[in-house]
Symmetry: C2
Subunit: 260 residues, 2 copies
């Protein structure tokens, strides 16, 4: 897992969400997404398992003036690694899910993003690949779902279009004029929100403890049950100290795992 250094972060024009493309397929679409991002002041790009490897000359060619976004892209082998250092995660998807994750329209979602960024949080916005979009397991990692209200009779938009609309909404809620605004990093409250990797470790701690107790039964329901549980954990928005406390709680509980 590669973290963004302070100097890298400072090189960005201003704090902005990072866009995470999950298993994108065509280099052209990655390049077009990079252009759309930069059109609206977003330059942090992360890729999870790009199908055709990385770097990808087609992405660079399509990005043209936005080559800096492509050159700065970070590649990860899992979504969890890509969002490990983020405190707030948004999943973009058109479909309703079985999850209880709140669904927001773009403007409301980007207002939340803006609030989080103003507090010094790192925010990731997830986009699915061309074929299937985000999986339910991917969406379970998100604090909120961003859904673009398209024409029900002709709903599907492509990856670069989704990136364009989300970046556009970002620029709407955080206009370029605001630039001189806050020194975000200094505003972190004393008990900061936990980074995603910490929440993930906490959830894994719980899942392991529950497995030891045979909690996930019947076994064919395990996928749904873990997904819903993880989504609830993510949504809770635990702070760093709460995560520490809960590790203690689970540790304490799992010591009794051999009873009953």
């Amino acid at each position: 897992m590669k973290r963004i250094s302070r100097s890298e972060a400072a090189a960005h024009v201003r704090p902005a969400p990072v866009f995470v493309l999950v298993e994108p397929q065509m280099g052209e679409n990655i390049g077009a997404a990079a252009r759309a991002m930069l059109n609206f002041g977003v330059s942090g790009l992360r890729l999870v398992n790009p199908r055709d490897g990385w770097p990808n000359p087609k992405a660079t060619a399509m990005a043209s003036g936005a080559a800096s976004v492509i050159d700065g892209a970070q590649v990860f082998s899992t979504l969890d690694a890509a969002i490990a250092d983020c405190q707030f995660v948004v999943a973009t998807t058109a479909r309703m899910r079985e999850l209880a994750t709140p669904m927001l329209e773009p403007e409301a979602a980007l207002k939340r993003v803006s609030e989080k960024i103003a507090m010094g949080d790192r925010v990731a916005i997830l986009f699915g690949g061309e074929r299937n979009g985000l999986s339910s397991d991917d969406v379970a990692r998100a604090d909120v779902i961003l859904s673009v209200p398209t024409n029900p009779a002709f709903a599907s938009i492509n990856l670069a279009q989704a990136a364009l609309l989300v970046a556009y909404e970002w620029a709407r809620v955080r206009p370029f004029a605001d630039e001189a605004a806050e020194t975000a990093a200094n505003r972190r409250p004393q008990d900061a929100p936990a980074a995603r990797a910490d929440v993930d470790r906490l959830y894994q701690h719980l899942e392991t403890a529950l497995d030891a107790r045979g909690y996930f039964f019947p076994v064919e329901m395990r996928g749904v049950m873990t997904r819903n549980l993880r989504a609830a954990f993510v949504r809770a928005g635990f702070s760093e100290s709460e995560v520490r406390t809960l590790h203690g709680v689970f540790k304490s509980l799992s010591r009794k795992g051999d009873e009953a």
Copy 2:
């Protein structure tokens, strides 16, 4: 000049602006614009002098699920003909112009469009071709300029992206839930806004009269002077009866055209 019949208009899902592509070049971009339109419930497409003629198989191929938009497209040889039956015209352009035409951000522009459509007006939104965008002469036809606030360091967006953002803003100000709303045509006030063809004839009447008086002097300034004058006329938003009145005024004035 082809007018949309009542039955054609009724075939649209609901009243919406028409998108006018002025001298578009690549069929693929026309097709991509058609898709973007239909994603957000806009289906009326007009083309002014498409470079590669019409119909264009590349546009149809790219439009795929939005072929109905391509099939229903109307082709015109001049912009004036394309907007002749419209009462309100919006020009999309990133650049500032010498014109006094008011410049609005997308949301404000589409709110104006929505108000006009609610009153029964037909609204055109103009998009320039890939190479040069809209000319100053094109923009002089518009009541307002819609300008997308992009990153000053990387500002240019393509035709299909501009169509996507404008259609998206249209759906934002006029959500799909509003469908059953107003029977727009019945709401026209007694003294309805003049159609663009009527304003155009009125302006031509004036220009001819002014030419007869040698008003446009020096001659190399004629282009700027006529453009500004036309823009002022358009912006005035004359009603049908005002246009009739002003024809009388100009006729009366030009009878004296042979005096000093």
